[in-house]
């Protein structure tokens, strides 16, 4: 019988190695035995220690992360994309998996039975060689050196041992260069244009002869030692220190330490007599090894591809985990992660604008909404965002709108690749309803405020916590002005917000037990988000809006500000702020543990002290709700 699906599977496989090395008829035999599996984000394919499966895997769509876990040390080794083959352990030995494979995003994976694959590829040396390289480069840290060394001792060429011992240094390819006779000024312009800290001077045959760094310019030009039209070869450091293509991070670092330099020229054969192919900077080394906020932020600012942004964000998660373990104040962690998130959004927008056919036709701002807008987003959660663009006349409106919609699509899709899932309710800048001109937004907010209904209140928890991440701040000020002017005209909106803020009663029930969710699968879980975090967020927003306080979005900071403004309630507000931070920490820890947003807490996993702590957070919720009821006269409204 004809099997078109198997044919299509074969058509896909043959585009990628090692399947491109297999004869079509044999490939069809493989393809017809494939199982196609759909994976949700976070689904695990195999776990470290699992007995090896009878399958090897190929990514059809999405991305599969390979993780290494050892007593709390959690490393992401690689993220496999479309067409990548992974999980090769069963081809090597019957030993259990050394690593864990998890869907990094929604993915589709082909499982190929090992026996048929081996039958088809057994005598093909090229395929064997390819698979070995894949296996070796996948498990690339010291913990696998031993295993890989043992297994591949027969196959591996000598220098490849290093390849297995350390990962290959990820240097900058196609580095920025200048000729020997160009002026320092021209070189400096090039450097600032490309936002780089050094430039390599090359001769006619593109061999590196010298290097100029920021400090050369500072020490030799800015001090007046040389004029700016000096030829570069007068001030450059020469000769340069070189390394060979494919050197490892460890080798690169050693060379830098030995020569006390921060930049290494990578050439074809590792000497100055061959063509320059790249530059390895101290920063590159740190990026590969280290994990500090500054390094992550730099990596984001220089990222040229979404993939880089994703790896930076994943590193931030590792950092966050360490902060929590070391009991670093949560307000500090919030600031750092928020900065990382904002930097990623900014970079994603910059990259998207480059992809567009033209620069933005008018001024615009990119708003983060909801938890990112409040700077409370510690883990990967849904993205909520919107675009405000300058008012334009009717004739150009359609073109302008479609430009920004396109931009919105590019950015949201990039953010999705980074790990921020699409908003379930599609509250994103790619949605025509949330990509509007300033006057349209002003009308929209007026409408919500003056004619509040259920839907407006539902949206207010997202839209009233906006924060301008990118673009023109003046647009946002005018929007904020309109909102506060309109709020002064009515009190009804506050009542609606108030009703919403008190609708979730204190999480402690009649018997001082936790009120836990009683529906379906989640029945033993406590929803910390809707029961504890959101009531505080809602209360903070309402109070801040009613006090006409501007530009304070973070819930903890909002309560601190309120404590300043209302000394009579100082104690309550401060405890709200404290409770909020504690709850956020609970939620984040839970989320890191389970690899989700952490909104559901399994009470069983908490020890007594934690339970007490959690309970203590509920008292201010109840008290602040009482304040709202009285202040906004909600007794008869509810």
């Amino acid at each position: 019988m004809k099997n078109s699906i198997a044919e299509r599977v074969g058509d896909f496989l043959k585009r990628y190695p090692p399947f491109n090395l297999i004869k079509p008829t044999l490939l069809f035999d493989i393809a017809s035995q494939v199982t196609i599996t759909y994976l949700e984000k976070g689904n695990t394919i195999f776990q470290k220690g699992d007995t090896s499966h009878e399958f090897i895997y190929v990514v059809r769509d999405g991305g599969i992360g390979i993780h290494y876990d050892n007593g709390g040390i959690h490393d992401i080794l690689n993220i496999h994309d479309k067409g990548d083959i992974f999980g090769l352990q069963p081809l090597i030995s019957k030993d259990p998996y050394q690593v864990t494979a998890t869907a990094n995003e929604e993915s589709i994976v082909y499982s190929i039975p090992v026996d048929i694959f081996q039958r088809v590829t057994d005598n093909n040396a090229k395929i064997q060689k390819y698979l070995i390289t894949v296996f070796a480069s996948n498990i690339d840290a010291p913990y696998s050196a031993e295993i890989a060394g043992k297994i591949f001792v027969d196959y591996l060429p000598n220098q490849a041992q290093d390849l297995v011992n350390f990962q290959t240094a990820n240097y900058t390819k196609n580095p920025i260069t200048c000729d020997e006779d160009s002026t320092v000024q021209r070189a400096a312009i090039k450097m600032s244009l490309h936002k780089i800290g050094c430039i390599i001077v090359v001769d006619k045959s593109k061999n590196p002869v010298g290097i100029i760094t920021n400090s050369d310019i500072k020490n030799k030009i800015a001090t007046g030692l040389f004029p700016i039209n000096t030829a570069v070869n007068k001030i450059m450091s020469s000769p340069v220190i070189t390394g060979k293509k494919g050197l490892t991070v460890a080798e690169g670092q050693l060379l830098m330490i030995k020569n006390t330099i921060g930049h290494l020229c990578i050439t074809k054969d590792g000497t100055v007599n061959t063509k320059l192919v790249g530059v390895l900077t101290h920063h590159d080394v740190l990026t590969s090894l280290g994990n500090s906020p500054t390094v992550i932020l730099k990596e984001i600012k220089r990222a040229k591809r979404t993939r880089r942004l994703r790896s930076a964000r994943l590193k931030a998660n590792v950092l966050l985990k360490r902060y929590l373990e070391q009991n670093i104040p949560i307000s500090h962690s919030i600031k750092i992660i928020s900065q990382v998130n904002d930097a990623i959004t900014t970079r994603a927008i910059e990259l998207a604008i480059k992809k567009m056919d033209a620069p933005p036709p008018v001024l615009f701002s990119w708003l983060s909404l909801g938890s990112q807008g409040r700077h409370e987003q510690l883990l990967f959660t849904d993205q909520d965002n919107a675009i405000v663009f300058e008012n334009v006349n009717e004739s150009t409106y359609q073109d302008t709108k479609s430009y920004f919609l396109k931009l919105g699509q590019l950015v949201t899709s990039a953010l999705n690749k980074v790990g921020f899932e699409y908003c379930e309710a599609d509250m994103m800048a790619s949605n025509p309803a949330w990509c509007k001109s300033l006057s349209e937004w002003q009308t929209q907010f007026k409408h919500w405020i003056l004619k509040p209904d259920e839907k407006a209140i539902l949206l207010s928890s997202i839209f009233f916590d906006y924060n301008c991440v990118y673009g023109d701040k003046m647009l946002i000020s005018s929007l904020t002005n309109t909102i506060y002017d309109t709020l002064a005209e009515t009190s009804l909106f506050f009542k609606f917000l108030g009703r919403d803020a008190v609708k979730s009663p204190s999480p402690l029930g009649f018997f001082r037990q936790f009120l836990i969710e009683k529906t379906g699968e989640q029945k033993e879980l406590f929803n910390i988000k809707s029961r504890a975090v959101m009531p505080l967020v809602d209360a903070g927003r309402l109070l801040v809006l009613s006090k006409q306080v501007r530009d304070v979005n973070n819930t903890a900071e909002r309560f601190e500000k309120l404590a300043e403004l209302e000394p009579e309630n100082k104690e309550l507000y401060n405890s709200c702020s404290y409770a909020f931070k504690a709850l956020l920490k609970f939620k984040t820890k839970q989320g890191l543990q389970n690899g989700d947003s952490g909104k559901l807490i399994d009470l069983e996993t908490l020890n007594k002290e934690e339970k007490l702590k959690l309970r203590r957070c509920f008292k201010p919720i109840q008290e602040v709700q009482e304040v709202l009821k009285i202040r906004f006269d909600l007794k008869n409204f509810i």
Binding site: M1, K2, N3, S4, I5, A6, R8, V9, A31, S32, Q33, V34, T35, I36, T37, Y38, L39, E40, R60, D61, E106, I108, S111, E424, A425, D426, K455, L458, L459, T519, G520, E521, Q522
Partner: protein, 221 residues
Amino acid sequence: MVFNWFQKKKKSYPDFWETYLSSFKDHEKQAIPETRFVAFDTETTGFDSKKDRILSIGAVAFKGKSIPVNNTLELYLKQDVFNPKTVEIHEIIKNNKLEKVTELEAIKIFLDYIKDAVLIAHHAKFDQRMMNAMLARHGLGELKNECIDTGTLFNKSKHIIYKENLKDHYSLDDLCTELNVAVTDRHTASGDALITAFVFLKTLARLDKRKHLQWEYLLSR
């Protein structure tokens, strides 16, 4: 019970039909991950269940989230009814080189394939109607399987604030765009069946995120 009912009618059915019916005997609802689903699609000469005929049937069966490629169904039917208007869509030209079976053989193979599985189709009503019309032509009863329509299911997965914007009609291409399903082999029965299976799995994942899924909810209209 089932057999008594047939005896009263005094009509004798062919063995394969009895076998098909008997698969529903002792049929118990399994949990969703253990349930066998069959996503299927038909290519037809047109949209009139009386006049038009099925040209091909494609189906993929799965439990959980894995679809084995070696257990898919791809049937091409011998038909004398021919509608030149729809040929462009599916390119099953009459008398080309494809291996073809008669309607009766197709029914036998199809019923043996689906058994008591829960069926999934895009615009399920249409495919069901075409299948039932074909069964009736051969003196058989209607399909007994539960059937889920991917369009209806998709509407259930949308967020409450967009309920007012829901459409009655989504094309399979619409859903692929919304759910980010790669479109290959569109307009062949087995290609569409596979795409329908992905649409179903992805929609199910979105629904499952919010609530513990119950059969009643999944099957409701």
